[in-house]
Symmetry: C2
Amino acid sequence: MSKVIKVNHVAIAVDDLEGALKFWRDDLGLELDHVETVPSEKVEVAFIPVGDSEIELVKPTSDETGLAKFIQKRGMGLHHLCLQVDDIDGMLINLRAKGVRLISEEPVELPGRKMAFIHPGSTNGVLVELYELLSEA
Amino acid sequence: MSKVIKVNHVAIAVDDLEGALKFWRDDLGLELDHVETVPSEKVEVAFIPVGDSEIELVKPTSDETGLAKFIQKRGMGLHHLCLQVDDIDGMLINLRAKGVRLISEEPVELPGRKMAFIHPGSTNGVLVELYELLSEA
């Protein structure tokens, strides 16, 4: 039985990474681990470890993405919650069987991880990402 | 120097606790620790441990609270991010000195914990709660 291990990250939609780091790094004193551009998802991400999880500041690099439209419509703010699971394929099978609506029917595989999104219509309005780290599988 | 220790919890605004537990507990397989009514804040909260953090499903018990208005305006969804700090008084002094706008100028003290909120205007739209557990001070 696949299970949730922890909160992998909380993602915050921002339109200006340096401006956002002013609060999270400079004011709050958190450490920026690194910034990464992910062309396949058209985002630039600042990774900020916090205890056993991370805060990710996510900035769209295109106006056409769901993330960009989220900011245009609602402004910057909490965007999604990523839960790390031990077996994403098993979890998706289980969720489908329970009638949960998935955004990705199959997980997307990136180096070192597999990920999938659950539709907010099944989660009380929360965009939930599931994450399996392959090195920990 | 006061510092952030971890993500204490991620709060999700819901208008129906039992309906919300259908996803988080029954579908996702997380365990409900307990449900608590907090009359001073006019909320009912379901506490769901996830790794070293918690997901809190927060339901308003009055239509007049900020939480109730959040749901009326934006629907259910991610509401706030709570960061646990080792010294909340020191953190608030530091944040004020850096020009960060606070909702509570002084922390509110409840049994076992002190808490304060930072205004979303200073945090890229994220309602950030700070939490100090007094038993761990």
